[in-house]
């Protein structure tokens, strides 16, 4: 399968970091996922072949890391933290509001494929709680109104 040029540059650079090819696996899986949207069978087969691994070895690694997924998700994956620091400041309410507004359950995707919602563990925003990440972007000190605005903006961006 074909990846973008950007991926290829990153991939060949990562290989120079380590004495073994396999070490490049976790970061490059994430780069591949960013590109395809999820770790498709083709992407897994391709990376396995490039890194001299079996597909099973690659899948074995994928299933361990919570950011890696083998199924498609929304274009914008809204990851709401409900761990202790966020919970104390309304993280659960943020998650519930998010699910209600988008009409999906945890790990669900909206019908237009624009959003998915995921309850996640601590994302390292404890002093700015409650917090969520949309893909890789942090949104902190959230209120329900602030969350609505964030979702509106992504909706606008995604439907343009």
């Amino acid at each position: 399968m074909k990846f973008s040029e950007e991926f290829e540059t990153r991939f060949s650079e990562m290989l120079t970091h380590y004495p073994t090819k396999r070490s490049a696996l976790v970061p490059t899986l994430l780069y591949a996922q960013d590109e395809v949207g999820y770790l498709s069978d083709e992407a897994i087969a391709e990376l396995a072949q490039r890194l001299d691994l079996t597909e099973l070895e690659v899948r074995n690694v994928i299933s361990y890391y919570s950011m890696l997924t083998t199924g498609p998700r929304g274009k914008y994956n809204v990851q709401v933290c409900t761990n202790i620091a966020c919970m104390l400041r309304g993280g659960e309410e943020v998650l519930e509001h998010c699910k209600r507004r988008l009409g999906v359950g945890n790990k669900g995707t909206t019908q237009d494929g624009l959003f998915s919602v995921e309850e996640v563990e601590c994302i390292g925003a404890c002093s700015w709680a409650p917090a969520a990440q949309v893909n890789y972007d942090f949104h902190e000190n959230l209120t329900l109104e602030k969350l609505d605005k964030v979702l509106d903006e992504y909706k606008k961006k995604g439907t343009q």
Partner: protein, 437 residues
């Protein structure tokens, strides 16, 4: 970008360059950047190690082990290459300090890795950053590239004749990988499952070579020690607890944020003065002093110095510097459940006591909080936790057990209040203030 805060009691060492544009290499150089490593290049490795030992610097990841001591365990001669590995997999709930270091002062981490490499005779260093911190790996990649471009990294660094390479590495979501042996597995491209010790990483680490693993804050402190001297650094803190540390104030506080305070700073003062006290005129109920794995302290137990020994004396741990404050609207059973839910989710499943223990605890606490608990459950929760403690390859089992045991011990009455089908006393309408921010 995370919001920066300040307080007059702060002593800025690691956070000295925060908000100063230090991600830019020229600016970093203006702010005394890469001076420490040049000083280290002129020193014998043992002299560097002794300087760090004498500074009283202890691991900021949570265990609080002497950094200089750790470095001294690396054998002088080794057939296999030696490595330095910076642990930036920050994921202990309550902790968000390394994030700020990477965001605001990435070169300080690079410089710390360089000095550690000189001290132990390594020619390769890795900076591991958790996958969720994608924007920080972008910042770090640029910083490394800039350092190479000036000849600070690569062949013949600073014209010293010495070669040193530093690379970044990214995770993909796993708390367990913050444990040193699992971190190495992850860097080797595998599931983050812990290794049995001995042998310790200092002897057999990455790809079988001797490896020093330090937390990002620990390494970012090292250049300041090399410049200011061990005595100066040690005196900032308390005996055997040198320096300052970044405290992440979180939870029910008026002014949460990451503050750099001297080791041994009083916890009560930290909450009421630095953190601005409890919002909405509420009373303090409890404090989790060092990240979710540390045993909870009661409101009357917080008049203590926040250093490794002071918190240990109070029956808890200084841990990773995540101070989570709970006001009197918090249900401890629910808090315990959320804590355990995390550890159950993050248990790698390798050791049975942790895999099964966290799962049973989650199930029991879920049922218990919903009002379907029986008296015997309370002892069972304690018993299950006790049977994880010290019985696993890595400390994740302990991290789940220790806080749970403390919740049961210190708040037994609150557990009892959930018995006999009674709904959670804290979830009555209006009893909780939903969103604080």
């Amino acid at each position: 970008m995370a919001t920066l805060v300040s307080h007059p009691d702060e002593v800025r060492v690691v956070s000295k360059r925060f908000g100063q544009g230090a991600t830019n290499l020229d600016r970093y150089l203006e702010l005394d950047g890469y001076k420490a490593v040049q000083r280290a290049l002129a020193m014998e490795p043992d002299a560097i190690i002794n300087e760090v030992k004498n500074s009283g610097l202890r691991g900021r990841g949570g265990a609080g082990f002497s950094t200089g001591m750790k470095w001294s365990f690396v054998p002088k001669q080794s057939a296999k290459p030696k490595y330095v590995l910076c642990n930036g997999d920050e994921s202990e709930p309550g902790t968000c300090k390394d994030r700020l270091i990477f965001e605001q002062d990435p070169h300080a981490v690079i410089e710390g890795v360089m000095i550690a490499s000189l001290a132990v005779g390594a020619h390769t260093g890795y900076i591991y950053i958790r996958g969720e911190y994608r924007y920080l790996s972008v910042i770090m990649q640029k910083a490394i590239k800039d350092a190479y471009a000036r000849g600070f990294l690569g062949k013949n660094i600073f014209g010293s004749g010495r070669d040193l390479d530093i690379y970044w590495h990214g995770g993909a979501g796993a708390y367990e990988v913050g444990e040193e042996s699992a971190l190495m597995e992850s860097l080797e491209g595998k599931r983050g499952i812990p290794r049995i010790r001995p042998p310790f990483p200092a002897v057999v680490g990455l790809w079988g070579g001797p490896t020093v693993i330090n937390n990002a804050e620990t390494l970012a402190s090292v250049p300041h020690i090399m410049l200011g001297g061990a005595d100066w650094y040690a005196k900032l803190g308390t005996p055997k607890n040198g320096g300052t540390r970044l405290f992440c104030l979180a939870g029910h506080l008026n002014k949460p944020g990451v503050y750099e305070l001297p080791m041994g700073y009083n916890l009560k003062k930290m909450i009421y003065e630095v953190g601005g006290g409890i919002p909405n005129g509420r009373a303090l109920k409890a404090v989790v002093p060092g990240g979710s794995s540390t045993p909870v302290l009661l409101a009357e137990e917080i008049d203590i110095p926040m250093d490794f020994d002071g918190v240990a004396k109070a029956g808890s741990m200084l841990g990773s510097g995540g101070v989570v404050v709970l006001d009197d609207t918090t249900c401890i059973v629910k808090f315990a459940l959320r804590t355990i839910k995390f550890y159950q989710h993050e248990s790698c499943g390798w050791c049975i006591p942790c895999r099964e223990g966290t799962d049973w605890l989650k199930k029991t606490l879920t049922r218990f909080h919903a009002g379907a608990g029986v008296e015997k459950d309370i002892d069972n929760i304690y018993y299950l936790s006790e049977n994880m403690l010290g019985k696993t390859f890595c400390p994740l089992g302990d991290a789940a057990a220790m806080p749970t045991m403390a919740f049961v011990k210190k708040f037994r009455k609150e557990f009892e209040d959930h018995l006999e089908g009674r709904p959670c006393p804290f979830e009555k309408a209006g009893a909780r203030e939903p969103v604080l921010a």
